[in-house]
């Protein structure tokens, strides 16, 4: 097992290298750069080529591509992501500010999704083709059909029109003021969590139905075991594997992918930073964010694989 873990960790390096090369090239293939985005988009008529050249030189964009790439890779090896081409601030500082919010939101949304998906999925499977099953299916299909940002807009309008109240507009860390923090983040967490719970619920239901038809469940029932015990001790452990995969991957996605929901709730998270970075052609920032998200995905995948072995002893790794 230890060798397997070591091998998996080692395999992450070429993957990350591939991502680094790909994102570096892709960004430079797209037309426009940060200097154009900064000085040509505001409708001014006084921009000179001299100014553009000074700014490009300042940012190292006058250097050949290979030199820009080696400088960046050298920094990455020292875990130095450089400075944002747009703000001139260290990238770690730019990301750190948003990471706390995005991480907390991802944890809250994943928790809500898990707490809804697992019991509802089990309930629907156990009560298959009864009104309970139909109700759960309606609830989960509605979740699949509604984009989380749309649900978020509905939530905001309801709070505004019915309760004459809006969530706080500025992020307050949990440790500074838990109430303010939750008052802002619980709504997007519910909107996003519900959406992801729907996928999990559907997956949990079908996995559980499959497991409940297995011979060993029939044997357990024939032995007269209590249903709750059969479900928790024998069925759940096997049925939960695909659900675990989905929720874990969604967690990694939530870290940087909640662009529209962040806009709707005015959250200063990584998703917005990503989109702003792309619109501004902030190469260094986008490169760092892509590396961060790629690492998060690889790491979550790795943890899921380890969890598989723990949940299902039949799985062996070499």
């Amino acid at each position: 097992m230890a060798f397997y873990i070591f091998k998996r960790l080692l395999a992450m390096i070429p993957t990350l290298l591939g991502v680094a090369v790909l994102i570096f090239i892709l960004l430079r293939v797209v037309p426009g750069d940060v200097v154009e985005a900064r000085f040509l988009t505001q409708g001014s008529q006084f921009q000179s080529q001299e100014l553009m050249d000074i700014e490009r030189k300042k940012l190292g964009l006058d250097q050949p591509m290979w030199k820009q790439f080696t400088t960046w890779m050298g920094g990455l090896a020292r875990l130095d992501f450089g400075i944002s081409m747009w703000t001139g601030s260290p990238i770690t500082e730019e990301i750190k500010l948003r990471f706390a919010l995005s991480l907390q939101l991802a944890i809250m949304a994943s928790t809500i999704a898990t707490l809804l998906a697992i019991p509802l999925g089990i309930l629907a499977a156990v009560k298959q083709d009864t009104w309970v099953d139909y109700a759960v299916r309606v609830f989960s299909i509605a979740g699949l059909a509604m984009p989380s940002f749309w649900l978020g807009i509905l939530m905001i309008l309801t709070m505004l029109i019915v309760f004459k109240w809006l969530p706080p507009m500025v992020f307050t860390p949990l440790w500074v003021n838990p109430w303010e923090n939750l008052a802002q983040l619980i709504w997007p967490a519910l909107a996003v969590g519900y959406r992801y719970s729907a996928v999990g619920t559907r997956m949990m239901r079908s996995a559980m139905l499959e497991v409940l038809r297995e011979d060993y469940i029939r044997t357990a029932r024939a032995k007269g075991l209590w249903l709750k015990l059969i479900l928790s001790r024998h069925a759940l452990k096997n049925a939960i594997l695909p659900v675990l995969t989905i929720i874990s991957l969604e967690f990694a996605f939530l870290l940087g992918g909640l662009v529209v929901t962040e806009q709707v709730f005015n959250l200063n998270g990584l998703g917005m930073l990503f989109v702003e970075g792309i619109a501004r052609r902030d190469y260094t920032l986008i490169q760092a964010l892509v590396m961060l998200v790629a690492t998060a995905f690889l790491f979550v995948n790795f943890l899921v694989d380890i969890a598989y072995a723990w949940l299902d002893p039949r799985i062996r790794y070499r």
Binding site: E36, A37, T87, L97, M169, V170, V264, N266
Partner: protein
């Protein structure tokens, strides 16, 4: 008696014009406003976005400013300079610097700081970029003969020089700091403005608090302000509607205005103005058949701007039919005269018939097809693009729209890879020199994307720029306008943007102007409760 009646009428008129001025300002409170964009740096001399002006301008003073009560946003008003004089030949401007202004670090602001700030803008040291250097090409040198006098010596007379000193970006920085590190102000804030800097949380907000030592006694009225960065327009509207924010200084759409007014009634006050921003159509003179002025004139004649204005102003942030100056401002062409230009006629059918005739004469076949490049920004690029394509279709042109992503757009257009393309101009003050520079020959201005050279037009520009007599200058501006929009039809104007500010009725002491870069020092603003 008649004198008394006239005096009362004038007083009543003044009260109606400036209701906030008639009330006693209340001190206290924090003004909260969303800002749709965040500043890349804090250096006004370097940046060009309202995202810098809205949250950062309250920390600074400028040499002169626009009168905060002037709705045309063009009248010079004292700030750091308390008065100014112009020499007989119009080549020397002497400004008297106010005594007693202190920077937030407690040091005195003198003429030396003004000179250092303007030197950085006009004659930046090697390696320091200045976005407004080209705007002050007429300045030969800046002098500070004593602590209360600044002298600008020009290479030739200029009718617009004082207006160029009203730029809200030209923050006065401390000379000693600039001498040590010219880029210091990119990452630091230290001005002499009505508010002092408290914090900037990146991506979230900027907070300022009242400067108790502000030189303009009794101001500011607010205890502080909080500028919250909010890119989503629906979130901005929700913030005002939910009374979590008082005002958004850039502007809302007509639909947003109606939503807010419908939901909040008298709690919302709406101020509107023609906006000093406009979408133009650049026609590439290097591509056939657009090198033929008959074709370009046909393109502008095809647009029924008067009907378009009525329809589009319901759904987009555009309204007035305009020439090269914002309607209602000193140099704007009166409507009856403007309506004589090609594409501005009130008889749309006659105009379209003329467009068809010109196209036939130029040998352009019916159903001629070309591509119109538009920028990937929904408001107002999208509705205007759709409108123009329909207008051109009505004179037998078959136009395909190609939308290019916003950040890449001007890079593509700059290279000349287009036939006709949407262009954009936005100014901080309505002034012929600033607004007409765009149309100069491409060898004088690389931002002329029409890629033409017109020495006659350039000469007209230079002539009006040096003319200090306002009436004579107006005539020259009219000639320039006729040549660029009608005779040569180098560029096509669409419709003037329309600025709509629905704000909390608690906000007083703020007047809308045509520019969203103006009136953001917040020293005159107060909250009624």
């Amino acid at each position: 008696m008649s004198t008394l009646v006239r005096a009362l009428a004038v007083a009543a008129g003044a009260l109606l014009a400036f209701p906030s001025a008639a009330q006693t300002p209340r001190n206290g409170g924090e003004l909260v406003f969303p800002v749709p964009s965040e500043p890349p740096s804090y250096d006004g001399h370097r940046e060009e976005t309202f995202g810098l002006i809205h949250p950062i301008a309250p920390f600074y003073n400028t040499l002169l400013r626009v009168d905060p009560n002037d709705r045309s946003g063009t009248k010079p008003y004292p700030s750091v300079a308390e008065s100014w004089t112009e020499s007989q030949d119009g080549k020397t401007f002497t400004l008297k610097i106010r005594s007693g202004i202190k920077f937030h670090d407690g040091s005195d602001l003198t003429a030396r700081d003004v000179k250092a700030s303007y030197d950085k803008i006009i004659f930046p040291p090697p390696g320091v970029g200045s976005t407004r250097k080209g705007q002050y090409a007429v300045v030969e040198k800046v002098e500070a003969p004593n602590p209360t006098t600044v002298v600008f010596r020009l290479k030739q007379s200029s009718g617009s020089f004082i207006a160029s000193l009203l730029s809200p970006y030209n923050f006065i920085y401390k000379a000693d700091i600039l001498a040590k590190e010219p880029n210091w102000y990119e990452k630091n804030i230290m001005g002499s403005g009505p508010f002092t800097f408290v914090e900037h949380v990146k991506g979230s907000h900027v907070v300022g608090k009242k400067n108790p030592n502000y030189w303009d006694k009794g101001k500011p009225h607010l205890d502080g302000f909080r500028a919250i960065f909010m890119s989503s327009s629906s979130a901005q509207v929700a913030a005002v509607r939910g009374e979590r924010a008082h005002i958004q200084f850039r502007g809302f759409t007509p639909k947003d205005r109606d939503t807010l007014k419908g939901a909040l009634g008298d709690k919302i006050t709406v101020q509107e103005s023609a906006w000093d921003c406009i979408l133009l159509v650049a026609i590439n003179h290097e591509k056939k058949p657009f090198d033929d002025k008959r074709v370009r004139r046909a393109l502008t004649l095809a647009l029924d701007r008067h009907t378009g204005s009525k329809a589009l102003s319901q759904i987009a942030i555009v309204k007035s039919v305009a020439g090269v100056q914002v309607p209602g401002t000193p140099f704007a062409t009166p409507p009856e005269e403007l309506n004589k230009l090609a594409g501005y006629w009130t008889d749309a059918e006659k105009s379209r018939a003329e467009a068809r005739r010109l196209l036939r004469e130029a040998g352009v076949p019916d159903g001629f097809s070309f591509t119109f490049k538009n920028r990937g920004i929904p408001m107002p690029y999208e509705p205007l693009g759709v409108w123009m394509i329909d207008q051109w279709r009505q004179v037998g042109l078959n136009v395909k729209q190609e939308v290019i992503e916003a950040a890449a757009y001007f890079g593509v257009i700059r290279k000349g890879d287009f036939e006709a393309a949407m262009d954009f101009q936005c100014g901080y003050i309505v002034e012929p020199d600033l607004d007409m520079y765009k149309f100069l020959s491409s060898d004088r201005n690389p931002a002329n994307y029409g890629r033409y050279k017109d020495p006659v037009l350039d000469a007209l520009y230079d002539k009006q720029s040096g003319e200090t007599n306002v009436e004579k200058r107006k005539q020259l501006v009219r000639q320039f306008e006729k040549r660029v929009l009608d005779d040569e039809a180098h560029y096509l104007m669409t419709l003037q943007w329309h600025r709509i500010i629905p704000h909390s009725s608690k906000v007083k002491g703020w007047t809308v102007t045509p520019s969203h870069y103006l009136n953001n020092t917040l020293d005159t603003v107060w909250l009624s409760e």
